[in-house]
Subunit: 515 residues, 2 copies
């Protein structure tokens, strides 16, 4: 068995049985090994940003890492933006990046580059395997890193000769660590704060605190103490919809966030970060909390927030009976013109039971949360790293992870163009994804940011950098070009019909919402 | 004047008057400055790989650097693969990469990343501007680096507050260095080698040795001494076509390269690299020259090879009269079925006078050189870094640099999908580019490499990683989606007609060659 085969066998034995790939010459022995080893599902992407984003989406839904196969430094580079997003979401991924044969690197052939240097900024763990006999153990260490708590982006660089030379066999992945616990002291301190200052306390949550179960405990605690429970602005995954505790998020716009946060003298962080503005703006603060607000961390990312919240509820004597009913918007099937309100209503109405919503709707989607709180139960995935081109790959990977669930990918037209190649992979694998493109023909968020940074009124040249209306992008044509059926809609009724049609069928669809 | 305006004014004053952009929030003050400063042409790309590749193509044709505007670490990351190619081609580029405000970086907002770390592997020069008052001088230094000999990839990182705070004014770019010379000793030594061992000597050339003028001197030297003149496998730009000295290149395939190189006991390098295999293969050499072959460098990259070749011709007493006539293939207008031969003939027949050919035709194009040697005079641009997704952006930038010339972009279907967004910029700017996509529905080069690395016969799973035929990519539909008229052809006659039609019109067109 050569090094490549020892690695593939180690991956499969270690539970990493999906590989999102865009290989090149230096990875051919790895590709050949896929023929000889049973149990690895390979999913080809036509661009590496699709590959890495898919691995992110896969992890978020499956909870275990997928692998990627990338071609040398430039192939990794093309995947870095979505690795950035995955790293900020604490998704575990095992990247396999090809490298020239060890003895060939010094000759500075055209594709030679500093792969470790490229990998480090967007990886938690980086290693170049030195020999075929080391590959299996290095692969096992990469899997262990990807599965650690919190999970890591592990990048294993595989020189071609370590793939084709003779190896010793497979390696065992160190036994998975137990789901980590939490600090009982931190919970006790949180209980004291909430007991004494409930209504003046904000419980700020993300990640593991946003499962249906964890949210239930949070709802009991809120009912018992009068505290406010909120999410940070973006989350890797959030259980939402009818029957789940619906919480607001800290608004993206600073002017909206500050008045909310100034109401609280205490903030209890449940995996969440200290509330910080997404960007800096002249004469506006970076930190969103009021001066003098005390911040207490109850759990860090990777700790067991559901268990910590249960313990906190116990300390406070909070029970199911404490839960206060939530006023939720009713589901409305909209009619008439498309606008931000009718679009949000149509989405809320259409979300199927147990759907996965991948949200990169940016400005169009700022109002999606209130109406969808009453939608059928679903999971909502967001971009944690802010690099656009996130959603169509993540939707692809989520659909690979959960073939029995409908994936709704909500994406702005500007964002959709970064990784539009995802559609081809969705067609190839017959993935159950409906991509909804909000075609407002502008980087609308930048138009807002232009005001936000105090840059004045944009003139013609600045507007040309913000508007993408010339020429008009025809997403239905592009989808057709990649094998995905699509249709454009211009009214709420057409949008309702297109969503119903897409939900009634299994497989990829695209809807272009012309605004 | 704020820092952003001081930078834009410094760029324009320094002769950098084109900016390929894909901006975000942190770059809004730079975008605003574009309204206030006359003289900067901004060209929007929908993906950063388009932006950086366009800057590469612009430099290759114009000989002076363009700037790019990229959004933070992930925006830079998306542009790195084509910066890799540009760096290997020694193209000068001034990248402006936005960064969070200096005081905001420490808060680890979602888009925070190690931008300098990302920039270094694909840049020659990296600097983060520390203050608004430093921005203009830093910009001038970046321009100087981009214009140095050899030119450099200069990446200037611009924290948002250095853009919006008050600056002191513009900065002067240090006077351009004189076009560098060459070593008279090295030329004299080359003359001695050629005088004594002409027929046993290979003169291996690239870059500045491939202008029409430099090739003329090389042709005289070959005629006088009996030496062989060849190009390395790939070149940033090569003057070709009728009336120009046509030289062969070292074949990509090792088995073809070795028998050629073993004929020579001496190699004179004119900017070229020591001949090295593109990839390593088991039991095949990395270096392509025979053992014992003596290698002599006459000029390094960035030296004046045309002047050195002229001096060399003088030393050898080589004159125009020494030039031997070259047997060139005749131009044939092919008919019948499309195959590698008829495709090459159709291209050669159609190349318009003074065209720019951007070549990423990979396996389909391996036979393009002989027939096109007799085509109308043109420049031929190739991928120096091996990262695919090179050609459509480079064609875009070449067309911006040379609006009076037709650009023919020859690209494989696999390669075209990495940076397909180029088509939209071509439509937006009405660029005179005809994109010819060779749709063989496979990463054909990898099928060859699978054999080359001795991986055996690919099974179903390996084939699925090489073939891209499921679903079929419809490039005409994708082009329509981005505003570029296109047509598919299935016979040589249709291909001839489509090329003639595209060449008769100004503006972007796409031809899908179904093979």
């Amino acid at each position: 068995m050569n090094g490549a085969e020892s690695l593939v066998r180690t991956l499969v034995a270690g539970g990493v049985d999906v590989c999102f790939t865009n290989p090149g010459t230096s990875e051919m022995h790895f590709v050949a090994a896929l023929d000889r080893v049973e149990g690895m599902r390979c999913v080809l992407g036509l661009f590496e940003g699709v590959v890495t984003g898919a691995a992110d989406g896969y992890f978020r839904m499956k909870g275990t890492p997928a692998s990627t196969l990338l071609h040398l430094g430039p192939g990794l580079a093309n995947g870095l933006a979505n690795l950035h997003n995955a790293k900020k979401a604490r998704s575990g991924i095992v990247n396999i990046v090809g490298q020239h044969a060890t003895y060939h690197i010094g000759f500075n052939a055209p594709l030679t580059s500093d792969i470790e240097g490229l990998a480090r900024p967007m990886s938690d763990w980086v290693r170049t395997s030195p020999s075929a006999k080391a590959v299996a153990a290095d692969g096992a260490a990469a899997i262990a890193a990807a599965k650690s708590a919190p999970p890591q982006i592990a990048t294993l660089i595989l020189p071609a000769d370590t793939a084709w030379n003779e190896a010793d066999g497979i390696a065992q992945v160190p036994t998975e660590a137990q789901r980590p616990s939490y600090s009982a002291d931190a919970v006790e301190k949180a209980a004291k704060i909430l007991h004494a200052h409930g209504p003046e306390t904000l419980v700020l949550m993300t990640a593991g605190a946003l499962t249906e179960q964890a949210l239930t405990f949070a709802q009991q605690i809120a009912g018992k103490t009068g505290c406010r429970v909120m999410g940070q602005t973006y989350h890797p995954r959030m259980a939402r919809g009818a029957g789940r505790f619906s919480i607001d998020r800290i608004p993206y716009v600073i002017e909206q966030a500050l008045p909310i946060l100034k109401n609280y003298k205490h903030i209890v962080l449940v995996e969440a970060n200290d509330p910080v503005a997404f960007f800096a703006y002249p004469n506006k603060p970076s930190m969103l909390k009021a001066e003098g607000t005390e911040v207490h961390r109850m759990t860090a990312w990777g700790e067991n927030s559901a268990a910590a919240l249960e313990a906190l509820a116990g300390h406070l004597g909070a029970k199911a009976a404490d839960v206060k009913p939530q006023p939720l918007a009713e589901l409305i099937k909209p009619t008439g013109a498309l606008n931000h309100t009718t679009i949000a209503q149509a989405i809320a109405y259409a979300i199927p039971e147990n759907a996965i919503v991948v949200d990169e709707s940016i400005t169009t989607g700022r109002g999606f949360f209130p109406p969808t709180a009453a939608a059928k139960p679903h999971d909502w995935l967001q971009n944690m790293g802010g690099s656009i081109g996130f959603s169509t790959p993540v939707a692809t990977g989520a659909a690979v992870a959960c073939p029995d669930r409908k994936v709704m990918c909500l994406v702005g037209d500007g964002s959709a163009m970064y990784t539009i190649q995802s559609l081809w992979t969705q067609a190839r694998e017959n993935l159950n994804v409906v991509t909804v493109v909000f075609a407002n023909r502008i980087y609308q968020i930048l138009r807002g940011e232009f005001d936000g940074v105090g840059a004045g009124e944009p003139g013609q040249r600045a507007q040309d950098m913000l508007k993408i209306d010339r020429p008009t992008l025809d997403f239905v044509a592009m989808a057709k070009g990649m094998g995905v059926p699509g249709r454009a809609v211009t009214t709420a009724d057409e949008f309702n019909a297109a969503l119903a049609e897409a939900n009634a069928e299994y497989g990829p669809r695209l809807i272009e919402v012309q605004m």
